[in-house]
């Protein structure tokens, strides 16, 4: 497929004898929501870490808009417009929500020390601009009310939304969400779905790891299924749910045979 924003080709990662990611290739387009699913230990988070530069890949190629990402450090990848959230909330404590988002916007400052210390309005204008943008994003995820509150006062669910808003503050072209709905109540998860649709509507590509199929399937445009590090299926959500290889991966051989017996 041409016109892909992100292309991953033959990604591989081993931990000793364990093959965590095995010859994985996929494309991701602007504004597309791609779900990455698979049983525990299938290599989803490892794939994230390879794309984000948190782990070094053993082989393969990753390009964003034709520019290589593989081998870059996490902060360089963020600067190229790939932002991520973590499986566990990791707010910068003791800071306000707005300041957390401004750390997310770190790569958007582009002012030197000297201009911070001695420069007049340019650095201060940029600061104000990005602060306003942070407030808009907090509005977008529904946390505007708490913008000057310290993050330590947020509930777990609000913390999940803050993670998303903080990643958006970096003005990414691709946002990678690692189980964003884990631990959310039903209504919180519904709100998160709306937010993710909103992100996609802004033309930002979304790569989504998720366990909860009821959350993922109505949301994703396309799904890639991993098992033991390898891609076993790829397609639209309704195709995936009928795929025998996927069922076997999720239910196991025993599950398959029990299903067969019942027939």
């Amino acid at each position: 497929m041409d016109g892909a924003l992100l292309t991953a080709r033959s990604l591989g990662k081993r931990f000793g004898g364990l093959i965590a990611v095995d010859d994985l290739s996929f494309d991701l387009h602007e504004g597309e929501i791609l779900g990455l699913i698979g049983p525990n230990g299938a290599g989803k988070s490892t794939t994230f870490n390879l794309l984000a530069g948190a782990l070094a890949a053993d082989g393969g190629a990753v390009e964003l808009d034709g520019a290589n990402l593989l081998g870059l450090k996490p902060h360089q990848i963020a600067a190229k417009g790939v932002m991520r959230t973590f499986q566990h909330n990791s707010p910068f404590s003791g800071m306000t929500l707005t300041d957390n988002l401004l750390v997310g916007a770190h790569t958007r400052f582009q002012s030197s020390w000297m201009s911070v210390l001695f420069g007049g309005s340019a650095a201060r204008d940029r600061e104000r601009e990005l602060r306003d943008h942070a407030h808009e994003l907090l509005e977008f995820v529904g946390l505007a009310e708490w913008q000057e509150t310290e993050v330590d006062n947020l509930s777990f669910g609000q913390g999940r939304l803050l993670e998303v808003a903080r990643a958006l503050a970096g003005e990414p072209r691709l946002i990678m969400l690692d189980e964003p709905a884990a631990g959310l109540t039903l209504s919180e998860a519904e709100r998160l779905s709306e937010i993710i649709r909103g992100i996609s509507a802004r033309g930002i590509a979304v790569l989504l790891i998720e366990h909860d199929m009821r959350f993922l399937l109505p949301l994703a445009h396309r799904v890639v299924v991993l098992n033991f590090g390898a891609k076993i299926a790829e397609g639209q959500p309704d195709q995936i749910t009928r795929d025998p290889a996927v069922m076997q991966a999720y239910l196991g051989d025993a599950g398959m045979s029990r299903r067969a017996e019942r027939r």
Binding site: M83, F92, M95, D99, H106, L117
Partner: protein
């Protein structure tokens, strides 16, 4: 506007004190300002950037010895010696920072402690250049711009160094740089994912604050016109740490208040308990860590919340 008037008001008070105090009180005021300047820098490094660097006093010493050795042992003109000493501090700080900021917590403390000990050995074994255990004395800054290099005129130089250090660090703290430092202190991996260059930011914070400590050392060098290796040992280093923790780790005002409290307390307490005041400090630090980790600034915040002030 409010911030600006607070700065101007504070500066006016310090200048007024510099010009009116004399004798022992003036000496105490100068030393207090020097300690407060060091503490503000150490607080940025430890409290905001999260680096427990035991080398801060050593850089204070490098600045002090650097300027005196260059100006009076090597005979450089004073302005050149000042620039030279700043550069020496900056380069050594960078060389120490590059390997040691890769370490974290306890290991960073150990590495910088080793550097501080190395500095002590160098000035003790420096022969005629550093004066060895006797230190350096018998020098004096020449008069510049018609200002006498001692008395109230010199106190103004120290006031300027204090205000400059505070202004630089407060300004940086409220910029992307300060937020990046705090983010790294909290969670380096997340900070990196947000686009923060963790290594460069850590090296920058270490080099900047260490160089500022060196500048403070230069101001100290002409306060007594006497340098002794004892002034740059480990005891003052641990006092800086205590001042930061008791004042409120990560808070600029806390650093100044902690420095003032612990610096002035011995003056008051020594009459009653002699040298045992250190014991009191130890108890105070343990109590602060156990019951009030946010230090005096934490108490202040709590009081403001309780009385509904903003």
């Amino acid at each position: 506007m409010r911030a600006l008037s607070a700065w101007l008001g504070g500066a006016a008070i310090l200048v007024a004190l510099a010009l009116t105090l004399d004798g022992y009180a003036a000496d105490l005021f100068r030393k207090l300002l020097l300690v407060a300047t060091l503490c503000v820098g150490f607080n940025f490094l430890f409290g905001i950037a999260g680096q427990l660097a035991i080398s801060h006093i050593a850089f204070y010493g490098i600045g002090a010895y650097g300027v005196v050795v260059l100006a009076f042992q090597f005979g450089w003109p004073l302005p050149l010696a000042i620039i030279g000493s700043i550069m020496i501090c900056g380069v050594i700080a960078l060389l120490v920072a590059i390997p040691s900021t890769r370490l974290e917590g306890f290991f960073l403390a150990l590495a910088t402690l080793a550097f501080a000990q190395l500095f002590s050995v160098v000035i003790l074994q420096g022969g005629d250049v550093t004066g060895g255990p006797q230190g350096l004395s018998g020098y004096a800054a020449p008069d510049y711009f018609g200002l006498p290099s001692d008395g109230g005129g010199y106190t103004l130089v120290i006031v300027a160094v204090f205000l400059m250090t505070l202004a630089i660090l407060v300004r940086l703290d409220h910029s992307w740089f300060g937020r990046a430092c705090r983010a790294i202190r909290d969670n380096p991996a997340t900070a990196a994912a947000m686009g923060v260059d963790v290594f460069r930011t850590k090296v920058a914070a270490f080099t900047l604050t260490s160089t500022l400590a060196g500048v403070t050392g230069m101001a100290y060098a002409f306060t007594d016109n006497y340098l002794s290796p004892l002034v740059f040992g480990l005891e003052p280093m641990f006092m800086l740490l205590f001042m930061t923790v008791i004042g409120g780790t990560g808070r600029h005002a806390g650093a100044v208040i902690g420095a003032a409290l612990l610096f002035l307390a011995p003056e008051v307490l020594e009459e009653w308990v002699g040298r045992h005041y250190m014991l009191g400090f130890g108890v105070l630090v343990v109590a602060a860590i156990l019951f009030q980790p946010a230090g005096l600034m934490g108490l202040w915040d709590g009081a403001r919340r309780r009385w509904g002030m903003r």
